[in-house]
């Protein structure tokens, strides 16, 4: 087995007096889909945001695709092209069309010409089944469509790892399916994914591994069947019981 594509060791994060991450180790293998669950304030989103250095870890090390992310000599903007990110609130650029949103980094970061960037952007939109919405502005799209455009914006750069930060929690229930379908197809194409989400059905069906975090630490991890079916830790049991009651 080749080495992990993403390797985070001993991550700590302080916000002032708040100690949000208390020594987290996370290894992700190529083509693996890792789910991170946990109560709000458990540090799961902070962990994800450290993995592309949107948050600066207070201590620890992160290597992605062989690049030491925290090394001063690393060009973080170059490294970030290998790490796609999808946000809870989509964060599409409202003044650009779907195509413009996807093409921006292809042009400005990768330096491609307009024609080539737009061709690649169309391909990416096609992968999330929104090729026919290329000329629409975010305000003219549903939340689910916006999130799929956001996925296209990330995958157009051909990242090695994709990070999803609660990608469906801002969506109306009837729009969740389309986003999960896009994520499933991405997974089937062999993308390595780290997903912070409470979509248990999706986790059961698609995840290789589920990580439960609480209080800034990883409490327990394992295959979805084990974590959801027979959690070892009391805190995991309580949390999963809570989630299942909410979704019943």
């Amino acid at each position: 087995m080749p080495g992990p594509i993403l390797e985070a060791r001993g991550l700590h994060k302080h916000f002032g007096h708040l100690h949000v991450l208390k020594g987290v180790d996370l290894l992700v293998q190529e083509r693996e889909l890792v789910f991170v669950i946990g109560p709000s304030g458990s540090g799961k989103s902070t962990l994800l945001r450290c993995l592309n250095r949107l948050e600066e870890p207070s201590a620890g090390s992160i290597t992605v695709d062989g690049i030491d992310l925290l090394d001063r000599r690393t060009d973080i903007n170059k490294a970030r092209q290998r790490i796609g990110m999808v946000f809870q609130s989509f964060n599409l650029y409202p003044h650009m069309t779907a195509l413009g949103n996807v093409a921006l980094a292809l042009r400005k970061v990768q330096g491609r010409g307009r024609a080539e960037a737009e061709a690649r952007a169309r391909e990416a939109l096609d992968r999330v089944h929104l090729a026919d919405r290329a000329g629409h502005y975010p305000g003219q799209l549903s939340g689910g469509q916006q999130q799929r455009v956001a996925i296209a914006r990330a995958i157009a750069l051909e990242p090695r790892v994709m990070l999803f930060d609660e990608p469906t929690s801002a969506l109306d229930p009837e729009l969740v399916g389309g986003v999960l379908a896009a994520m499933r197809e991405l997974r089937e194409s062999g993308m390595t994914m780290v997903v912070v989400s409470h979509e248990m059905g999706f986790a059961r069906a698609a995840a290789d591994r589920v990580i439960f975090m609480d209080g800034g630490r990883i409490v327990e991890q394992g295959p979805p069947a084990a974590i959801f079916g027979a959690p070892q830790e009391e805190r995991t049991r309580a949390f999963i019981g809570q989630i299942e009651r909410n979704h019943a």
């Binding site: 796609g84 964060n91 650029y93 990330a154």
Partner: protein, 226 residues
Amino acid sequence: MTFDDFLQAFFSWEILEQAWPILWAGFLNTLVLSAVVVPLGFIGGVILALLSTLRSRWVRWPLIAWVDLFRSLPPLVLLVFVYAGLPFAGLEVSPLTAVAIGFFLNTGAYYGEILRAGIESVPHGQTEAARSTGLTALQALGHVVLPQAVRNVLPDLISNTLEVVKLTSIASVVALPELLFQARQAQSVTYNATPIMAAAVIYFVLLWPVVRLLSRLENRQMAGRR
């Protein structure tokens, strides 16, 4: 004063015909002056707004002091200081240079505050999304944040521009032959108020369409915020 006297003093066609070449030259100078000081002030504003995005206290406090100073000083005082005060320090400046410096300092501070508010109105998630795709901080600002910021404060920017164009009339105190200065010249030569009246009408004709546009934009923004 009879009605005919009144007409003769304020609306004399004969006087207008005599004064028109002088007024027209003044009008053109006002246009040129505006075309110099508006971009200059705007550039000053962009610089201040960009500096305000830096978190460092070494930038923050001097910036606040700078903006406060030039928003507090009356523009006329600033202009007179630059034109009549600086020569005592050995710095002779032409009227146009004095006006350019004064406006850069004064209107730059106002444009800067408007643009800063615009930048702050753009959600931080926009910057994060842009940075997550590898854009540099400057690229994220230029391609993602600033276009939205400008759109969000467009009515304020236009309103300020309107004020700046009107304020170019203070250049008359440093003998720059813009519209008001020329009208005063014509008035003193003809001993008649018609040139001043004409200057007022020219300002109105020039700026009223902008005022209308502004009202429409403001109404549209109100509707958008429902």
